[in-house]
Symmetry: C2
Subunit: 212 residues, 2 copies
Amino acid sequence: MPRVTAEHRAARREQILVAAMDCVAREGFHKTTMAHVVSASGLSAGAVYGYFRSKEELISAIADRAVGMVGGVFARAAGQEAVPSPAEVVERVAASIEAQAADHGVDITRVAVAAWAEAVRDEQVHTVVAAKVGQLRERCLEIIRLQQRAGLVDPGGDPHQMAQAMLALFPGFILQRLILGDVTSASLGAGVAGLTYGPAATPAADHTGGSS
Amino acid sequence: MPRVTAEHRAARREQILVAAMDCVAREGFHKTTMAHVVSASGLSAGAVYGYFRSKEELISAIADRAVGMVGGVFARAAGQEAVPSPAEVVERVAASIEAQAADHGVDITRVAVAAWAEAVRDEQVHTVVAAKVGQLRERCLEIIRLQQRAGLVDPGGDPHQMAQAMLALFPGFILQRLILGDVTSASLGAGVAGLTYGPAATPAADHTGGSS
DNA sequence: CTGTCAAGAACGATCATTCGTTTTTATGCT
DNA sequence: AGCATAAAAACGAATGATCGTTCTTGACAG
């Protein structure tokens, strides 16, 4: 029995996964060859296939990780005690997405876009991504319910529909950011604030005191 | 000089393009092989390469067409005399996207998702898609300015930022529709209406009267 | 006839995957 | 403690299949 059993094995798997995500962020899923992944990971073809049975399995793992990271961002940015306005929630989540895109060596949002496209096409990836997106919208739903109780959004509206609308903003944020490059969390937050213009949103906005 | 010169030539090109879009909607850009396109178009490999110099050029043409169709939808749904509320605009555009997805044999939204992913990766497609998305946001901007004048959105807010926010909704709509499948133009419109809750938006929101 | 268009078999390149070999290391034995 | 051993892990060249593209051949209009 060489080396360790669980710890180093997980580390190697992570090493391959990170290298593969870097490739995918640059070239997408299908233009990324296993040779690229092998080269980027610093291992060999045989080693990579020791941790992932196929390229498909590797792609699923990447998609899961990428969408999951964006989801984690969501849970973190929203889990506050004071109930923020919709515009504030959107700005915080968008800011966390910006941070995620910059912090790591790889731009996670590029991988996420590739994962969306793959989810439309491949059943395996679809299952993985659908589950993560469903969890994301659950988070939205919780926030919306709090905001309804606080009178920040229409208390008579269907919270599920509002969660759909809130969640819908982020793919568009990511895409405009990647394709046009002139959108920031601040501009998106301000835009949402402008669209949700009305007295109901103002009292809460006063408390938290959003800057800029 | 056999056959016709311009008309039939354009028709052949269109025939190939439609066949290719059908393939892309089902399999994405990279899993679609030229052999598939050849088979679906009913022509031969040599003929296809007589109209498109390479697969890359075909992909660019498809991306241009797909994003352009969604953009046309936008211009049509928004070009009304009476100024609609943000929620109404969103619902109308989303409804037109739904119609586009169902009317043709091919689901154009699937092709659009593939085009986004390709725009992130390929410079040629990026240029094409960026131009179309820029035009789309110009349309948003015009609508926002009208809404500002009508007091439907914050008159003091930056219209560019609001246009960013409004446009951001549609990729998320398309993705939730394709991946989770439980979002409709009506639910999205109602959700936006609920989030933009306030006296300024209410008179218009009454009209739409979302069920549930 | 002649020049254009379509056909489709053939080609070279590329990619995912495998498998025989080599290296590494935990463990048993002295 | 030090060495031998077995098994797991890594290696990387070979493989079989697939894909984009080309090029020769045949058909048809002017």
